[in-house]
Symmetry: C2
Subunit: 330 residues, 2 copies
Amino acid sequence: MKEKIRLGIVGYGNLGKGVELAISQNPDMELAAIFTRRSVDSIKSYGKGVKIVNIDEANNYVKDIDVMILCGGSSTDIPVQGPYFASMYNTVDAYDNHAKIPEYIKAMNNVSKEAGKVSAVCLGWDPGLFSLNRVLLDAMLPSGKTYTFWGPGVSQGHSDAIRRVEGVKNAIQYTVPIEEAVERVRNGENPELSVRAKHRRECYVVAEEYADKDEIVNAIKSMPDYFVDYDVNVTFITEEELAKNHSKLFHGGFVARSGRTGEDRTNNHIAEFSLKLDSNSEFTANVLVAYARAVYRLSSEGSKGVKTIFDIPLTYVSDKSIEDLCKSYL
Amino acid sequence: MKEKIRLGIVGYGNLGKGVELAISQNPDMELAAIFTRRSVDSIKSYGKGVKIVNIDEANNYVKDIDVMILCGGSSTDIPVQGPYFASMYNTVDAYDNHAKIPEYIKAMNNVSKEAGKVSAVCLGWDPGLFSLNRVLLDAMLPSGKTYTFWGPGVSQGHSDAIRRVEGVKNAIQYTVPIEEAVERVRNGENPELSVRAKHRRECYVVAEEYADKDEIVNAIKSMPDYFVDYDVNVTFITEEELAKNHSKLFHGGFVARSGRTGEDRTNNHIAEFSLKLDSNSEFTANVLVAYARAVYRLSSEGSKGVKTIFDIPLTYVSDKSIEDLCKSYL
């Protein structure tokens, strides 16, 4: 019997939990340990007998773990944990702080090359599968335009931003693509679309009793980057309504490229990659786990340094043999 | 200035013409020559001053061409031309005779390995981009089901099959996905679908004057593989109507994977890759040309033998640098 790929999870929030479940769907993998900053006793994993370890002891497991899956947040956790773990382990992460990606990739490459390890970065669906399709379709239709629409779905970043507003007790934010813009893209009109024309933002907010609701609405609508460039609806609801009707962290969206060919560029082509996800974190976790397989194989072959989704062939990601792939998938 | 990738076209039908146009959309490439079985004088290329060469002289151009793009038919041309050209040149082809793909890959691998060349096989959109998405999405959602729908669009294989029926002067066949089946897949129902439940076939036929139309209808509807398992409509039209209303070789379709995650597998996810193509052959040509870039780069690095779309990372396909890709596409 072939040995299983031994995976570690760093950080046991929604994404870490999703990774535990994802590993159980892949018979060639096993969960070696979960690493946490919290008290080890406070972690209740899905699986029975799963080893839970304080993150400070992570350096003791280099012989027991083939790939570490980093499940912390992109704002403060991963920029620190990424290079730290890449100095000891092969890693996979879902780093998504767009403006800082080149800098992060450089840092990870230095550390993992030095350590003789492979680190696959910025995986998930965006960045991740959407990035892959942006590059693929750009190459297939050089004379064209690429569009990305997100939603309908819950943006955790925007929900968090609202929760930090004075007088807000709890909140959830749905990103909603604007149907008219979507239609124009799918019709091959290749429109120029402003930020406002593409998405609107629906906010459901639980206010503190003392709060001035008008002030909350103003604070949200005028928030730079997050809301000011969008049409925003704010609806106040009770904590009970929030719990009852707004607990699902679904998401999705699509990447479309529309491009022309032909002697007079009169033939239009539209390619689209779309996702409709009941659980954002569980799907993201599945992507991380599949790419952990690729990292394991690349490292076994002697690869070193950073890999992006653009560098990794599908033969490394799939659990099927190339013969199976050619026979049944080509 | 960087030297351009010098491409040859073998076979100047719809696909070969599409490749000529595709090359003109990629500034890092140039068309070195078109190879044809027909009389050299009978070929009118889009470009001025394009070198047209008889296919029997193809062995004289090994120093002038980096990659040969094979644009012949899969039934009789490519099984012969593939190994012949792979013994001298790097190649790209769109071989799509599904049952014989493993055998073809083996033959091409032997020849191109021996010659120290790279041959990328079975490219286009299906096999090709659809195959890539089948493998990608299978790995992302191991517990799920994959569906492929083709159309609405013109199937040239089915149109040809009708044209071979006694009494048929001309014909076109549209493959049409059945809306109810598509809806069920997109709703995440994960249905079991028979061949008949997924597609219907619409045939527009010009009959010879002497022909018995009932016999034509019977011959079409009972044709094994092509029609017998489908609901088929046959409409008789005039040659003028065919020319006026049925000249566009549009096509498309989609690959969808629907899969579940979560402790109780209650979260459903749907991923879909779809194409809507005004010109089947021009889009296929664009795919071939982008993968010719990858073949050129792989060969320059010393790679040898067959490559499928599963083996080739996107960094080889894109004309952008990895730094650009990470900055602008990730």
